[in-house]
Symmetry: D2
Subunit: 349 residues, 4 copies
């Protein structure tokens, strides 16, 4: 921490700040200039609230020089991490795509979705069984029935499963069916939940909150890592800005920023990031071109009759076309994406 | 809902939209103009996702004409609501102030805080026992011990107690000690929690999320109200903007906006809203001048040694001065604020 | 400037940074810690672009320790400034109110407005002759005719005049009619205009841009001050946030922040800050309670037929009531506001 | 426009609204439902301020159903526009890249930059002669000398020239040297300037303001188009959000949104959009993958010694590599990019 004193700060004020910092466990290096004193403070607690010094008399500004997170940082672990599954890894050279409907609705729906996304090259089936809905009057998900249907559909196609946990009480249940536990944007700072997930041994997909800074996002990842669960995948899904034409503004630049600050893999969610079907493909291509390790996309066999998020779900045929476009783009950044598309049943044609 | 078709929309496209809306349970009134068709749709489900129509071919725009919330609206209940306690009400003519430390730390600390805020005119003691901290390495609260200390301190001074619940699992415990259950900004869309609080019979203080629109905030209130708990107090505590000098931007205009849209009482939190001690008093005065029903303020007997949020906590003497200023301002909007300050022990002098 | 090196930075990288800084005219103090090196750089150019160092290999972060503005800062001039007119000052103990229509429309309209606002206690008449309109198809103002009408109306009532200049080419003209030259939010970073206003000897009212940080706002003031014009009044008028219920979010906290960083007087514009008539009075009261030196308010004798901004203009009777409320609030912060309302013609009753 | 009345609106209030709308030139279609009345208003003025109705008693909400811009919309001109130069067009199948230094500094510098960007495949040389700088103490550009140097450098390489005009007074001068007149983000709502550019017969590159909505941006384009200048190229260059790690958040989703709403070509500026050299290439790739018609990129032969924006300028070798990556990506969206790179002098190797 660097404490910049005001130009007119008295010697007494400087001493008072020094005393306070020493009391908090810091070592102080003082540099007295022509205009003002600057104090360098080292040691102390990583989570020390610098505003405590900021409000002291004679203090002009306090600048933190270490990130408040540790395990999530590149400083701690310089080489990139990957989350491994049987036959592939998220965070390696291959771009991994997770796809499927917003909510699991029926056995037929999830089976059709699984077949369609598998055929196009997806490796992981997404689908919600517990849905966080802003209105209490909206469809809230099928619960365990949904999980069971999704597991069966994924197994039939050789896909992995990602599904959301909204609350500590659901972890045990979801772990029984899913290969990746998703933490939604609204729960990014649900610390009780994050702490419990740190004790789990199932990978976690941590979505960025719509108003979360990149630092806060990494701090939330830190909660899971600090609990001993090192398999964390970050997911950019749009931040809230003044622009209201799109539901959110997908922050593509977060991808290279995260890759500089952290070793954790990062994917993008162009479906929630835009909220509009015809914007999904352009933003999916953009995310991969920017270097994302993967995507999570809402694909529904019949979006017009989806029980949730139909407007941002794409048709299987659109997903096929998108995957073909991504196969062209990936090599530009030295990556591949499921080079041998599975040629099987003619779903969606 | 009003559906505006594109100028070049074909008759087939219009018919397709009409068919879709009828299928979803709406009655349609079509108005065909020189340039384009406009469809009025009535009935249907309050939480219908209008984007489903927005993505259809030939559709230019979809405009919703009813709010998605009901019980929280002035349309449903035109007269203002108040939450009543033994000797006062939040939402009446009197401005109610909740004050106390960020976290309960020791018996002495909370007792000193309770005495100080009571003397200055506060009616409710605030203090956290479970703390949502963005870093896993920060102080996380004393838990039940903290609740016990706070209850004792409040009872000794004749104060009510407000304290935060972070998770469903904490409700039963906190209800045993607190008179108001606070939902923090980060949990404003923790629907599992909101739903459970709807079943409680203890008033709820619902803070606005840092990126929540006013509509989303009222929808979260709707979750509690829909469960049968009608005692909801809203709390504006700052939204996240590009301005980083203050920790958040306290949206004072949300106060008159909420008072127009909803019957629920609304208070302001200038401590979290600014994050800086010397900005608390100006923003507290501003909130009352704008018409807020009350305030929640962090006051600590020794802010320099607070375990959390010391930088935004004010000294008891500053709180005394602020309360005196508020007594001048309140009458400007036809309100009073604890007109007879309690003259007792000489704390803080 | 403080340069924080990465933990793994090589000695060569550190030396490269030092060489670059020395070349740019800085003196360097190096502090080598257990984990990393930190470089303090003093001297150099106030407007040095710190990102130049930020992109160098081995650099973790660069922290600036001086504000980029000088003349506008409290460090440069600790005592508060006021802009003086014949019988009053903006920035003194009295709260000064500027009021009038958005645009000057007719002689009758501006005369009626002048009489109404004078009677209620305003000291300065506002009104636009050149209007920046987001649509090219909107009313664009009366130009010089409008200025002439406004001057006559103001003189008849003993009021000063504030009016907007949109372009360098208009300065000479407007100076002939107005006592204060307003720079609109959209022109806050029109540096050609600011530079010319620095040469003028007429006070400048500088509105904050809707996305301007407080630092950028003070830098724009610096342009005017650096030109030799020391009479600058700042005006907070709302920033753009994700909340769309109000047109902008009036950042009330900017008032105490500016008063800490700068010696310049600051007023608030609740009309543009909210964009809605019924929100003007609450926000005007809030601004004064927070410590603003004054207000600028749109008052129109017949808002329903205003050629611009009618929806955010208040009626003369609403303005009377507001001024009465402000007279109650001002003493709470040790200020007065036109204590002897002028009892003359019975306009508006 | 659709006017939604409150559920409790009286018949008198409805009639008052109807009368006001008729007076403003609208035809009204009333639809009286079980709960409330809804009024459809057609005709009237495109730039009518709907808030005038919004503030009337009994009105719940007013919804606009036409965009306020006309000439810029796809409704007006469904097929895409392109801006043609001798041998290429911006807005056609080929992706066009504009590149060069932030500011023209010396003859050698601009000549070296021109040669480097030409060799890599750029078609247009960028460079500033008049610089809008947030600090009055920063380098402000070389003025006409800079324009002359840039023209010579561009001619030597067979490049077109784009350069910024900051003020009406500069148009005549810049037109003499540049092929495209750039309007910077800070001037996006400088209507005096836009109006004059509408009279020019030189193409205009209109950057999006950092807090401009897409609608406001298109309205600014409308100012130029309405003046008779149909050659307008839009440029997304980042919006201001709460995230401060990057200087701005480049809104990639604005690319497909603009392409749906407007026929005008759109390019992206990843240099200003991120403000950091190592983020330029990922965001440039993302913009092209999302469908942008081109890019404008800061390339400097010696960024470490650039007089402005060196930190966000890339090295010629980085530009070469980026162009190679873009050649892989462009076909994914059916486009090409300068397929035959010019093999000439060995600059930068």
């Amino acid at each position: 921490m660097v404490v910049v004193m005001e130009e007119r700060a008295s010697e007494e004020q400087v001493q008072h700040v020094i005393a306070q910092l020493v009391e908090k466990g810091f070592d102080i290096h003082r540099s007295t200039g022509q205009l003002r004193s600057v104090l360098g403070a080292v040691g102390g607690n990583r989570s020390f609230d610098t505003r405590l010094i900021e409000v002291m008399d004679g203090v002009h500004e306090v600048l933190r020089i270490t990130e408040p997170y540790k395990l999530a940082s590149r400083t701690f672990k310089p080489e990139r991490s990957a989350v491994s599954f049987d036959e592939f890894r998220v965070g390696g050279d291959e771009v991994i795509v997770m796809a499927g409907p917003c909510s699991v609705e029926t056995e037929e729906q999830i089976a059709a979705a699984a077949a369609a996304v598998k055929k196009a090259g997806a490796k992981i089936l997404r689908g919600g069984a517990f849905k966080p809905r802003s209105s209490p009057y909206s469809f809230q998900g099928l619960g365990e029935d949904g999980l069971r249907m999704m597991r069966a559909a994924a197994d039939a196609e050789g896909l992995k499963v990602v599904s959301e946990v909204m609350d500590v009480s659901q972890i045990e249940l979801v772990v029984g069916y899913a290969d990746i536990l998703q933490v939604g944007a609204r729960n990014m700072q649900n610390y009780t939940l994050l702490r419990e997930l740190g004790k789990a041994r199932t990978p976690v997909l941590l979505k960025r909150g719509i108003a979360a800074t990149i630092e806060e996002w990494l701090l939330s990842a830190e909660y899971v890592l600090a609990g001993g669960n090192t398999d964390v995948i970050l997911c950019e899904r749009g931040i809230r800005t003044f622009e209201s034409y799109t539901r959110n503004t997908l922050d593509i630049s977060a991808i290279p920023v995260i890759q500089k600050l952290s070793h954790l893999p990062i994917i993008a969610d162009p479906s929630h990031g835009t909220g509009l079907r015809d914007k999904v493909a352009p933003m999916a291509r953009a995310a991969i071109a920017a270097g994302a390790d993967g995507l999570i996309i809402e694909v529904h066999p019949d979006p017009d009759h989806a029980l949730s998020d139909g407007a941002q779900s794409i048709f299987p045929l659109q997903f096929d076309r998108l995957m073909a476009e991504l196969r062209i783009i990936a090599p530009a950044i030295g990556r591949s994406i499921c080079l041998e598309p599975v040629a099987r049943r003619g779903w969606g044609a």
